[in-house]
Each structure stands twice: as structure tokens, then as C-alpha cells.
Amino acid sequence: MSFLLTCPHCGVREVTDFGYGGEVTKRPTGSPDRRELNTYNYFRRNVAGVQREWWYHRSGCRAWFIAERDTTTNEVHKTEAVG
């Protein structure tokens, strides 16, 4: 089955309501060299377990938020608004 996400603004919706923004990554600071920049652009942790990730409520409030989801079960532990 697919799963449900709780939008911090609109409440519980089906996953098809949302756009997926990928795992939360740490932006390089200062002036990164090419290796650091490409690592940031392309390389991912791709964890099997709880992952902090970006979602976008495409068919709702159109806000970005963060969810914690277990990628081995698709269970969403929590969602939180940003900014």
C-alpha cells in the first residue's frame, strides 16, 4: 500500500497529494571545491531506516515540510513545518 502523510497545515492526506523532495542533506558552506559540491549534488545516504526528508504539498497548501519516515516500512513517524 501507499501511505499517508500529515501535512503540518492541512492534516492527513494520501501520499499522491505530495511531491517528494529527497533526503535532508547538509549544504556545503563557504566556497566548496568541486568534489564537495558534486558530493552534495549527487551522493545520497539512501538509508534503510528512519530518514528525514523533504515533502511538498502539491495538491494542497503548496508548502514544503519535513517528515521522518522509516524507509523499510514507509511508516511516517512525524512531520514538521519549516521556517
Binding site: M1, E23, F43, R44, N46, N74
Partner: protein, 403 residues
């Protein structure tokens, strides 16, 4: 007669793991088994293939069995063409019927943009000596006379990329045939043997830790596709990969009425009729990452709706099975093949939705890398290092829709 009915094992059961092997291959799917099979040619037979589950339990047993080589980049087209050519002779070589059916492959165009991209692909393909051409709607109707091509569809058919060498092959038979070939050469197949850790000393992996004990290894190959990141983590190697599910389903058998493979990028479907009469259909990956292999309802809704637009005859057909498999998607939709920063640890990863069709050439080239220590020219463009040197091989146009 008795001999005909005698039960024969395709490969030997190996009760014990040895203390050490020249080569340890992690993942007994089509890539791992093919590599063991081709290592035989180089006289390398002290090989163990380990799998967490039964052989062919991952993507090798979950794909939609389609072979083709009409890719967008010269590097990709050349590589997959070598694979399709190996597949052509593989049944005879393995002395095992792989039910290869070279029936032709149609990628439908529903827009001017799609036609333009396909024209480009046909040119790239022909320069590589691959039979691939753009055809009009009339020819599409001739090649697939039972497909509904009427103008009153959601996405009218404006043409197609026709690829006559494309076809389907029995995926389980490929796994079994390669396993038998590898076993005959002396390689040991160890199913239900999960790798739990990799011991790294400096730039080398010295041993592989498994649920059945630790084995020393000369060379370690990671052929675990969807799980590649997790195995590379154990070696301290990072990958530019995310894991997603791809889903497919199959109908009950019906009379044969489709003898080409039909793909529509816009409708996110690829359809073929198996030799048993079943319609095998696949769709697009889910956008979110997951390691959970379970179907979604929106997949079934979208896939069946689009399939029925093309084949309304299937309206009353019942689905026998639906399933999901893991796909390791790379940023440029091309594989990551060969060396890593760890000297004796190589990968076959980033296979997204196109790994099965590459199995024989992956086996042959990885075996060559292990035997000679040199990266074969055919796979040099797919090195992991390309993500640091900005030399991506973009197959977005030809591979992003999964078939």
C-alpha cells in the same frame, strides 16, 4: 525414460562456507551469477556467490523480461547492444532454453517533442550499427494490428521508435541457466547467506562477514542493485543512488494477439504478451525512496487505465499477480560499473529499471576487470568517478521510463 523423469539439481547445495575465496560476489541475481559464469573463462573458479535470500529473488525475478539496446547515448547504446548480442547466443551456450523471443520493440510517440527525441535516438543507434528507426502511425498499426490506435484516445499515437532486435526472454530461466553454468565451473552458490559486514584495512577489503561466518576474499563484488548503498556503506564507499520501487503485474493467459513489445513513455506503461499468453505490464517508479517491496493502489489504477486505452480487449481479463521490486536510480540514469576507491571492491549498481537486459555484458566485463585488473573500454564511461569529474552519461530520455 527414467532418465527423463529423474530429478536433477541445477546447481549443487554447498553445506559449508570455505574460510577463503579468490572472489566473493554479493548478490545471486542475474549480474552476480553472470559474473561468476564468465569468470570461468578466465580460469577463476574459486568463487562464492552469496545471497541473503534465494537466487534471483531480487530484480532478476521481478523485471518484465524486456531486452533492447535503443538507448540515447552512444556509450549506452553500444553497451546494451553488446548485451543483447550476448543474450542471443546465451541459450545455446548454456544449453538451456531461455525462451528468447526477438519480436521487435515499439516506443510510442504521442507528441512532436517525443518524435524529435526518437529521431535523435534512431540516428545515434544506427551509427552504432543498431537497427532502430522512426515509423509513422500507419506502420505502427501494421505492426500492432490489435492495438487501439484510433484518434479518440487521450494520447493519440503520432509515430513510434521501432527497434526490431528488441524482445523478451524468460528471466527465471536466465537466472537458472547462469547458476548452472557458474556451478559447473566450480563456483559455489550460497543462498540464504546474508552479508553483515565488510572488513576494510586501508584500501582493501580483507574479509566478508556473513550470518554463517567470516570468509577472507581476494576481490569482492557488490552486485546487489537496490541494496547497493547498504553494502557499499559497509565498505565505506558512498554512492550517488536512491532506491525506489518499480511495480508490474500480469494477467491470466489469453489467446495470443500481441507479438511486439509496446512502450508508451507518456502513459508510463510497457506491455508484452508472454509465450504463455499472459499480458505482462509494468509502470513507472514511485518518486519516493523505499526498501519496502509492496504494491501501491495508484499504480494499479493508472497502469490498468492506460493499458485499457491501448488494449480495450483486456477489459475483462483478471490479474494473476502484481509485485514490486527495488530500483537503484543514479542521477544520470546510467549504471555505475567497475572500480571504487577501495582497490579490490567493485560494484555493479545504479541499474534503475534496466539492469536485467545488461546481465550478460556486466558479467563479461566485470569478469575481465577482475581477471586482468584493467577496466574494459566498454564500461569505462560508467565509472563511479564520473560524478566527480562531471562526465555524466545522461540516459534520461531513453531510460527514465522504466522498460
Amino acid at each position: 525414460m527414467r532418465d527423463l523423469l529423474r530429478r536433477r539439481r541445477m546447481w549443487r547445495r554447498r553445506p559449508e562456507l570455505k574460510r577463503s575465496y579468490d572472489v566473493v560476489i554479493i548478490g545471486a541475481g542475474s549480474h552476480g551469477l553472470a559474473t561468476a559464469y564468465y569468470l570461468r573463462r578466465h580460469g577463476i573458479t574459486d568463487v562464492a556467490i552469496l545471497d541473503r535470500s534465494y537466487i534471483g529473488s531480487g530484480a532478476a525475478g521481478r523485471n518484465t523480461t524486456i531486452l533492447r539496446s535503443n538507448y540515447k547515448t552512444p556509450e549506452g547504446a553500444r553497451f546494451y547492444d553488446a548485451s543483447v548480442r550476448l543474450y542471443e547466443g546465451l541459450g545455446a551456450e548454456l544449453d538451456f532454453n531461455l525462451l528468447f523471443s526477438r519480436r521487435g520493440h515499439l516506443t510510442l510517440a504521442h507528441s512532436d517533442r517525443a518524435l524529435a527525441v526518437m529521431a535523435n535516438r534512431a540516428e545515434v543507434n544506427r551509427l552504432e550499427g543498431i537497427d532502430s528507426r522512426l515509423i509513422g502511425p500507419d506502420r505502427v498499426a501494421e505492426l500492432a494490428p490489435t492495438m487501439y490506435v484510433g484518434p479518440d484516445t487521450t494520447y493519440p499515437i503520432m509515430g513510434a521508435l521501432h527497434h526490431p532486435p528488441g524482445g523478451i526472454i524468460r528471466h527465471d530461466a536466465v537466472v537458472w541457466g547462469l547458476a548452472r553454468g557458474a556451478d559447473e565451473g566450480g563456483a559455489e552458490i550460497h543462498p540464504h547467506t546474508e552479508v553483515t559486514g565488510l572488513r576494510r584495512e586501508g584500501d582493501r577489503i580483507t574479509a566478508v562477514e556473513t550470518g554463517r561466518g567470516t570468509v577472507a576474499a581476494g576481490t569482492v563484488l557488490n552486485c546487489t542493485a537496490g541494496w547497493s548503498t547498504l553494502l557499499c556503506d559497509m565498505a565505506g564507499v558512498r554512492l550517488p543512488i536512491t532506491t525506489h520501487i518499480l511495480q508490474a503485474c500480469v494477467t491470466e493467459p489469453v489467446k495470443p494477439f500481441l507479438d511486439v513489445v509496446v512502450v508508451s513513455s507518456q502513459m508510463h506503461v510497457y506491455i508484452s504478451q508472454s509465450d504463455r499468453g499472459e499480458f505482462v505490464m509494468g509502470s513507472e517508479i514511485e518518486p519516493w525512496t523505499t526498501y519496502r517491496m509492496q504494491n501501491t493502489l495508484n499504480f494499479l489504477q493508472d497502469l490498468t487505465r492506460h493499458t485499457l486505452e491501448l488494449f480495450p480487449q483486456l477489459e475483462r481479463a483478471r490479474l494473476l499477480r502484481a509485485w514490486a521490486g527495488l530500483c537503484d536510480i543514479s542521477p544520470d540514469y546510467s549504471p555505475i560499473l567497475g572500480r571504487t576507491e577501495v582497490e579490490n571492491f567493485h560494484v555493479s549498481a545504479g541499474w534503475g529499471t534496466y539492469g536485467f537486459k545488461a546481465a550478460p555484458i556486466v558479467g563479461r566485463t566485470l569478469a575481465e576487470l577482475v581477471a586482468t585488473g584493467r577496466t574494459p573500454e566498454l564500461i569505462a564511461p560508467f565509472a563511479l568517478e564520473r560524478f566527480h569529474t562531471d562526465e555524466l552519461v545522461s540516459e534520461l530520455a531513453a531510460a527514465a521510463v522504466s522498460h
